[in-house]
C-alpha cells in the first residue's frame, strides 16, 4: 500500500523565519513528486520533482528530492504571513492514475 508521511503536521513560526517541511514516501512505480499549497480553496501547484538532487526554486521557496532515501523537502526562507497554508506533498505513480497525498503540514506564520 502506498504511504506518504509529512512532518511536522503543524508548525507555528514568526515572520522572517526559515522553515523546512518534510515528506517521506513509499509508492509503487514512482514517477515524480508534487508539492501543493492549499489556502482556503483549491490546492495550487508549487513544484514537480522528477530527478534526485536537483533543487527547484521559485522565489523564497525551494524543493529537492532524494529518490534513494525516498523523501523530499520544501524550504521557505524569510517567511511572510501570506505563506500560512497547508502544504501538501503528493507522489505520482506511473500511469494515468491520481496522486497519493500526504496529510499535509499546516504552517502558520505569525507577524
Amino acid at each position: 500500500e502506498d504511504k506518504v508521511v509529512q512532518s511536522p503536521l503543524s508548525l507555528v513560526v514568526h515572520e522572517g523565519d526559515t522553515v523546512t517541511l518534510n515528506c517521506s514516501y513509499e509508492v509503487t512505480n514512482f514517477r515524480s513528486l508534487l508539492w501543493y499549497k492549499q489556502e482556503k480553496k483549491a490546492p495550487t501547484f508549487l513544484f514537480m520533482l522528477t530527478s534526485s538532487g536537483i533543487e527547484k526554486k521559485s522565489g523564497r521557496l525551494s524543493s529537492i528530492l532524494d529518490k534513494k532515501e525516498l523523501f523530499s523537502i520544501l524550504n521557505i526562507t524569510a517567511t511572510q504571513t501570506g505563506d500560512s497554508a497547508v502544504y501538501l506533498c503528493a507522489p505520482r505513480r506511473g500511469g494515468a492514475d491520481g496522486l497519493t497525498f500526504g496529510k499535509g503540514t499546516h504552517l502558520i506564520i505569525q507577524p
Binding site: R31, S32, L34, A42
Partner: protein
Amino acid sequence: DVKVTQSSRYLVKRTGEKVFLECVQDMDHENMFWYRQDPGLGLRLIYFSYDVKMKEKGDIPEGYSVSREKKERFSLILESASTNQTSMYLCASSTLGQANWPQHFGDGTRLSIL
C-alpha cells in the same frame, strides 16, 4: 490559465438522495479526477478518468460512481447519500505526458448530508 469549475461551492442534501457533483475543465485535458478531503485524512482519490467514457477506481470508490460523456465534463454521483459522505470534494484535471503533468484543481464543493 487552466480553469476547473465545480458547479456548486456548497451543497446540502438528505440521506438516501442521489447527488450529482459536476466538474468542467476548459483546457482539453485527457485526465480528470475526483478526490475527497477530510480533516486528518488528507486528500483521497475516489475515481479518475483518462478518456471519454473511461473510468478507473481510485482508493475509495465505494458508494460513488462517475460519468464522463464529454471530454470536458466529469461527474461524481453519490447513488444513495449517507452522512459519512459529508466532505469537501475536489475535482482536478491534467494532460498526458510527464512534462506538463501537474493536476489543476477546482475550488471544491463542500457537501453536507443530513
